[in-house]
């Protein structure tokens, strides 16, 4: 039992962490919390099943296509739901515009793909080893993403430009950084990561349109706990959340697990609204 708690918990946690990183990547580029993160994860699963199972493509082609679709959706999100709202005075309209866009895509999926969960194909044609592929693929995807992002942000010029925009977009624009293009690129990157999360976790979570709300919430929990924009916090938080959820599932049942996660989430946010790793900003009057 312990083994299945740990393997399943870490695998689901890795998916949550990836969705959390998706939130973060969009947030650092635009200061916008976007409701599209869970939708991207859901699409990763559905599109993966569509390309590989229904259309019979090889797994690697399917993966690349899914990631490309994620990038495109990310770009569309920025153009349709983020850019017009950033210009308006009413700042939190983005909550509604990104929610509306996420719902549009999710509903379209529900109508075209169906509202029942469909199986997701096995990606690698090998027998079960020590640990089943449906568990280690999400963990691998998460590790690769975190390392990739570290490399991008710390070692490359474009990554540093991302950080500059996140730190102070006015100053960054004054330096001549193309803010709009960098924001677009960030949303495309977030699209890729979100879709990867759903694709990697596909065999566990299935190709199911309802995953969008589940991933939206459980992917946000690690971000809220770890502090906005903090990827390491999101990974630690995501893995802990997955483990906690699975342990509670096995030990005391699903109802309690959901309630417990929600209760912890609310209590932590009430005690530390800026997360464990975040710092609170001073108030301006």
């Amino acid at each position: 039992m312990l083994e299945s708690i740990v393997s399943y918990g870490l695998a689901v946690g890795a998916v949550y962490a990836l969705i959390g990183i998706t939130y973060n990547v969009m947030f650092t580029a635009s200061r916008v919390f976007s409701f599209t993160a869970g939708m991207l994860g859901m699409l990763g699963g559905v599109l993966g099943a569509l390309f590989i199972d229904r259309m019979g493509m090889p797994a690697i082609v399917g993966l690349l296509l899914v990631l490309a679709c994620g990038a495109v959706i990310g770009v569309i999100t920025e153009i349709v739901a983020v850019r017009p709202v950033l210009r308006s005075i009413e700042q939190h309209l983005y909550v509604l515009s990104t929610l509306a866009f996420a719902l549009l895509v999710a509903q379209f999926t529900a109508i075209e793909w169906g509202t029942d969960a469909s199986p997701f194909p096995r990606l690698i044609p090998i027998d079960e080893g020590l640990l089943d592929q449906k568990f280690w693929i999400p963990m691998l995807a998460c590790a690769a993403t975190v390392l990739g992002l570290e490399f991008l942000y710390r070692r490359t010029l474009i990554g540093r430009a991302f950080l500059a925009i996140a730190e102070d977009s006015y100053a960054a624009r004054a330096l001549g950084l193309p803010e709009v293009r960098l924001r677009l690129a960030s949303f495309a990157l977030a699209g890729v990561i979100g879709a990867l999360a759903g694709f990697a976790g596909g065999e566990m979570l299935l190709a199911f349109f309802g995953n969008q709300s589940i991933l939206n919430f459980y992917g946000f929990v690690p971000v809220a706990l770890g502090g906005m924009g903090n990827n390491r916090g999101a990974v630690v938080g995501g893995l802990l959340l997955g483990l906690f959820q699975q342990a509670a599932n096995f030990l005391v049942g699903g109802i309690f697990a959901s309630v417990a996660v929600f209760a912890v989430f609310i209590v932590v946010l009430l005690l530390r609204p800026e997360g464990f790793a975040g710092a609170s900003g001073a108030r301006r009057v």
């Binding site: 939190h92 509604l96 939206n216 109802i255 946010l269």
Partner: protein
């Protein structure tokens, strides 16, 4: 007067007549749709106070509907508890809804918009999961039969009238709140939280009360919904409903009762007319939401608000009437506000460095100094926004605790802001009435039912606000929406709002910025008259002429310390001040 009463209500009356006469059509399907609209409205009316008035993005309200529905259904069925009357069960649903409303709402007190939206969403996700998993009580995916209300509100038109009566009651009650000082405070929390705090609005208590009311109404709505559905499963409460509730309010327009009511009717009826589109209904709702957010953030209410589209007079003049001030302010004399050794640092920057200052009632005390010398910081310390690391403040000898800006109004300390904090969607009069909020005596419940004490409060606040508006010279603009005013008018409006508090001390943060020379002259006379009526005025200003014209005493700050203090004449000839700040 009578006609104006009718003007605002004619749409409500027409709706009521149509609703009462609906059974004459003898179309039972129309009855079901109308019943559903009433049930939705009972929930939306409450949610409207949360979303439309207080501006809290509460998305997952379907969770409260679910809880109410299962509570009524399970209690009535008697599978878990002894069987009880559906009417009693409905009351229990209201109670459960109220408690859940508080649980869902609690995070709104501390969390910013998106976090709060997410917690309501999370709550909705979890309630659905529990409804599915807790099979013994909810029947899991199989569902459970809904309650049947006995005579006189038995299924059919009886039930319809039951829902209609409740819906009408909700409309009346929430409209009462909207027009009360509570409604104004909610809009202030939404549009200008800082102004709400400065006026003494107790945000936590008010929001919690609204969440209780909204939760209770959602619970009742859920009980009725279960009965209308006749059989409920977790599928019946999908997220689409939450979106529908939310969009009804946004289509209707924030800060309106009629708009969201029309929005509710529209969204309930529309899918029935466009039957082939039923599968696409949520998709269309989502598209609608996106369009509203991007194109018409004002909603139906804005389109109906023809009074605020009439052009305003082009060349308006602000003519204050200082003679009215003694009657309005009605200050007993004497009073001192003293700061001693106050020090406040932001990181390594010492914004105020051991400042000691006395302010007296009946005087204008000017605070000048170069940018960054700590003028506004001093104001923010006195009005509670900043908490200094050292020193103390005393009001008439008693310690004035630092922090807690919302408690300053209780000490009769009022202020204006460097950039006017207006409540854009409310009228000028309502903006000004906000200033007197703490002098209202009636409770939320009394306002809900327009009991006499509520009406006395409203009358008193209205009279006082009108007097203040007349005193600053804006009485002709009382009915105009505040965001249509010019900058200079907003400055005087903020002063009127502060005066409505009958302040012992009034702090003005650069009131002359952006005003014409003539307006500055009038402002000066007004400020002087305010002080002569017994209020102590603390004036932060860059216009040296204004300061030296009207101040009784002037303090010059530099780098958080006092550089010089004295009468205007003394300051004007102070060598260091002249060289550092005034110029030769």
């Amino acid at each position: 007067m009578h006609l104006r009463w009718l003007e605002g209500r004619v749409t409500f009356l027409l709706l009521a007549i149509a609703a009462i006469g609906l059974p004459l059509l003898d179309d039972s399907y129309a009855g079901v749709i109308a019943t559903r609209a009433c049930i939705y409205w009972i929930l939306i009316a409450g949610l409207n106070l949360v979303v439309g008035y207080a501006g809290q993005i509460a998305i997952g309200w379907v969770a409260l509907l679910t809880l109410g529905a299962y509570t009524t259904a399970v209690l009535t069925a008697g599978t878990v508890t002894p069987e009880i009357s559906p009417y009693l069960a409905l009351v229990a649903s209201a109670a459960i809804g109220a408690v859940s409303g508080v649980i869902v709402g609690l995070p709104a007190l501390r969390l910013r918009t998106f976090y709060f939206a997410m917690t309501t969403l999370g709550f909705a996700t979890i309630v659905t999961q529990i409804a599915l998993a807790w099979k013994d009580v909810t029947g899991g995916g199989m569902g459970t039969p809904g309650p049947v209300f006995p005579w006189p509100f038995d299924p059919g038109w009886g039930f319809y009238y039951f829902c209609l009566i409740l819906a009408a009651l909700c409309t009346w009650m929430t409209a009462n709140i909207a027009k009360s000082r509570f409604g104004r405070s909610l809009i202030a929390i939404r549009d200008a939280e800082v102004a709400a705090e400065a006026s003494g609005v107790a945000k936590p208590a008010l929001l919690m009360t609204v969440f209780v009311l909204s939760g209770a109404l959602a619970g009742i709505s859920g009980g009725l919904f279960a009965s209308l559905q006749s059989y409920i499963t977790p599928d019946a409460f999908n997220f689409d409903l939450s979106v529908l509730f939310f969009i009804a309010i946004l289509i209707g327009g924030r800060g309106s009762i009629l708009g969201p009511l029309l929005g509710t009717i529209l969204l309930t009826v529309l899918p029935e007319i466009a039957a082939p589109l039923v599968a696409w209904s949520t998709f269309l709702y989502a598209a609608l939401l996106l369009l509203i957010v991007l194109l018409i953030p004002g909603g139906i209410a804005d389109m109906l608000d023809y009074r605020n589209r009439r052009p305003l007079q082009q060349h308006r003049e602000i003519v204050p009437q200082p003679a009215l001030l003694p009657g309005l302010l009605d200050r007993p004399d004497g009073g001192t506000l003293a700061l001693s050794n106050v020090a406040l640092a932001f990181g390594g920057v010492r914004a105020i460095d051991g400042l000691s200052l006395d302010f007296h009632s009946g005087e204008v005390h000017g605070l000048i100094g170069p940018n960054g010398s700590g003028k506004t910081t001093t104001l923010n310390v006195i009005s509670g926004y900043y908490r200094p690391q050292a020193g103390e403040a005393r009001l008439n000898g008693a310690v004035l605790p630092f922090g807690a800006p919302q408690k300053r109004a209780g000490f009769r300390i009022a202020r204006t802001f460097q950039t006017p904090r207006l409540i854009g969607g409310a009228s000028v009069l309502e903006n000004v009435m906000l200033g007197g909020t703490i002098d209202g005596r009636g409770t939320f419940a009394e306002s809900l039912l327009t009991l006499p004490r509520h009406r006395r409060d409203e009358h008193m606040l209205r009279e006082r606000a009108l007097q203040a508006l007349t005193a600053v010279g804006l009485e002709t603009l009382a009915g105009v929406r505040a965001d249509r005013l010019q900058h200079s008018e907003l400055r005087f409006m903020e002063i009127a709002r502060a005066l409505t508090l009958k302040p012992a001390f009034l702090m003005l943060d650069e009131p002359a910025a952006g005003l014409s020379a003539e307006e500055i002259r009038r402002l000066g006379a007004l400020i002087k008259a305010i002080s002569r009526a017994g209020t102590g005025v603390l004036l932060v200003e860059h216009h040296a002429d204004l300061i030296f014209d009207i101040c009784d005493r002037v303090t010059v700050l530099n780098l958080g310390k006092i550089l010089a203090a004295g009468t205007p004449a003394e300051i004007r000839s102070h060598r260091e001040v002249v060289s550092a700040y005034l110029g030769a």
